[in-house]
């Protein structure tokens, strides 16, 4: 096993070759050395120190019960609340906001002894597909700093791809974990909607958001998923169904499984390099014993429109609390209305304002039926089509993104940016689990293979992804070394 994975580092900790504080220090150093990519917004030194001590105690006192994440350094996206640590959602409007509480997913990682070392950069309020919408500056792709890492969890993908931390947390509303994972050549997993608690996640689209891990191997993804998944009474949308233990499923391989290739996903303007890499992946899966067949998801074309009604509508309400009264940016004006207008006008970036307006419009009097209600109905159709496909196959395989990482500034038109997510956002609309794992390079840039499963079949998705991953070496490929860049291990 590679020494800079969760599993590898865990072994070294238990052998006494290193300790949590040292690992945290090295991770921090590695992150600093890629500062030019700008994936980190702030370091969480105090918290890291406390957690490193806690992890050291756990390892010393009860090494048998200390889980795989104990003492392991990680980074998390700037939309997850931790008590006492600034969380700004990549936005000026929350600059300086210090949550007085810790969210559930991060809380579970802290209880497991994991050591957070940094807060990663992201698109503002998780809205974007390139991390160019951050109010604090864009992020560069470790494979080519002039290109985007994907978004909205670009920072979280980049720090894992650069080898600075073995895992990170991101969030996925329309593809914001899977697409950056694809662009950066790492594994990125979006669990079933409701599998991981959203309590503590600064909401973008409530019925679509999920928290999930980035890592360099499916095994590591599985370890993080196991630590954070499960019902949370603080989140009414979290699933009360017990989490199927992933470990038993992971190594079962794909022999005998039926995998479906959605016809509509293969026609979506795929770059030739993406197409050939993904087709090679299909061939390998067949060699490994899976049977592949074509399935159809006819409403795929409508999914983009559906998403760009529902997500903005929900976010227009979720972001209304940013009003300068109880927290965040406040621009003084004599009247309250002008305070609202100035604070929100200046505090939100253009993409966020666009989506708020789009959502407000879709919900407004006279337009609700034609837009929002219609979108929620089409959503039902989309979900039903997936259900019907899953009657015939056990999982779906397809590309994660039609394209590879593009240069910064290349997609200045909002709509063209939205089209990046056509292969990922239907999965959020249906609330299904989906993962991206690296499956090749196209002109030197990573391509991602997406595996999609039925609701609550997270373990099966990880199993299929792992079988593919272990039969290739793509996951061991790292970004070309960059001048002065340090690695964790």
């Amino acid at each position: 096993m590679s020494s800079d994975t969760v599993a590898g580092l865990g072994a070294r900790l238990r052998r006494g070759e290193t300790d949590p504080a040292e690992l945290a220090g090295r991770a921090r150093g590695a992150l600093e050395s890629i500062a030019d990519l700008h994936p980190v917004l702030r370091y969480t030194d105090d918290l890291a120190e406390r957690q490193a001590r806690r992890a050291a105690r756990m390892l010393a006192e009860s090494p048998a019960t200390a889980g795989p994440l104990c003492g392991i350094p990680f980074a998390y996206k700037d939309v997850l609340c931790v008590e006492g640590v600034e969380t700004s959602a990549g936005s000026k409007i929350l600059q300086g906001f210090i949550p007085p509480y810790t969210g559930t997913a991060l809380g579970r990682l802290l209880d497991a002894g994991a050591v957070p070392v940094a807060v990663t950069n992201c698109d503002e309020f998780a809205m974007g597909s390139s991390n160019e919408n951050s109010a604090y500056g864009p992020v560069g792709n470790p494979w080519d700093g002039s290109r985007v890492p994907g978004g909205s969890s670009g920072g979280s993908a980049a720090v894992v791809a650069a080898g600075a931390v073995p895992f990170s947390l991101g969030t996925d509303t329309g593809g914001s974990i899977r697409q950056p994972a694809s662009f950066c050549g790492v594994a990125g997993f979006k669990p079933t909607y409701g599998r991981v608690s959203r309590y503590g996640l600064i909401a973008f689209a409530s019925s679509l958001d999920q928290i999930g891990p980035f890592a360099r191997s499916v095994d590591d993804v599985a370890s993080v998923f196991t630590a954070i998944a499960g019902h949370d009474p603080r989140d009414s949308t979290s699933s009360p169904t017990a989490v199927e233990p992933v470990g038993e499923q992971l190594g079962k391989g794909v022999a005998g499984l039926r995998l479906g290739i959605p016809r509509e996903y293969m026609a979506e303007g795929l770059e030739p390099g993406v197409l050939s890499a993904v087709q090679a992946a299909f061939a390998l899966l067949e060699k490994l014993g899976a049977t592949l067949e074509e399935v159809s998801l006819p409403s795929t074309e409508a999914a983009l429109s559906t998403y760009y009604i529902i997500a903005p509508a929900e976010c227009s309400a979720n972001l209304a609390r940013m009003d300068g009264v109880r927290f965040g940016l406040h621009i003084d004006r004599p009247s309250l209305t002008d305070t609202y207008l100035e604070t929100r006008g200046q505090g939100f970036g253009p993409e966020v304002k666009r989506r708020i307006m789009l959502g407000t419009y879709a919900l407004s009097s006279g337009y609700y039926d034609a837009y929002y209600r219609q979108a929620q109905k089409v959503r039902t159709l989309i979900a039903e089509e997936f259900d019907r496909a899953f009657e015939k196959v056990d999982a779906l395989v397809c590309p994660t993104s039609p394209i590879v990482a593009f240069p910064k500034g290349a997609k200045s038109d909002p709509l063209s940016m939205y089209l990046c997510d056509v292969l990922t956002l239907p999965v959020n609309l249906a609330g299904l689990p989906g993962i991206s794992v690296p499956c090749g390079l196209s002109e030197g840039l990573p391509v991602g293979l997406q595996v999609i499963g039925p609701r609550l079949q997270d373990a099966r998705v990880l199993r299929v992804a792992r079988a593919y991953e272990q039969a290739t070496a793509w996951h061991t490929q790292t970004a070309p070394p960059r001048a002065g860049a340090g690695r964790l291990a």
Partner: protein
């Protein structure tokens, strides 16, 4: 159906987003393009379909009527941009 300028102004006000004059036209154009694409939804036949109420199919997610600890006042007000003693302060509200 083109998005008109005063619709943008109206929506921006509903959402309390202060837009400069130049911004209004820029957003109008961008939103108009997005809406033109999104209008394709109208062509989908949904006469036999119900809206998705909750993608996980959950119902009756509730809790017992129990009290939990509150935040101390200082913590509740810690992020307040303007406070007057133990209150949040706001400017003149003209209705």
């Amino acid at each position: 159906m083109t998005l008109e300028r005063d619709q943008v102004v109206h929506v921006a006000m509903l959402a309390r987003l202060g837009l400069g004059e130049a911004d209004v036209e820029r957003y109008r154009e961008q939103l108009d393009a997005i809406l033109s694409h999104v209008d394709r939804l109208q062509q989908v036949d949904t006469s036999q379909v119900a809206e998705t109420a909750q993608v996980g199919g959950l119902v009756n997610a509730w809790r017992e009527d129990e009290r939990r600890e509150c935040l101390p006042v200082e913590a509740a007000l810690a992020n307040a941009p303007h406070r007057r003693r133990d209150h949040f302060e706001v400017g003149a509200i003209q209705e």
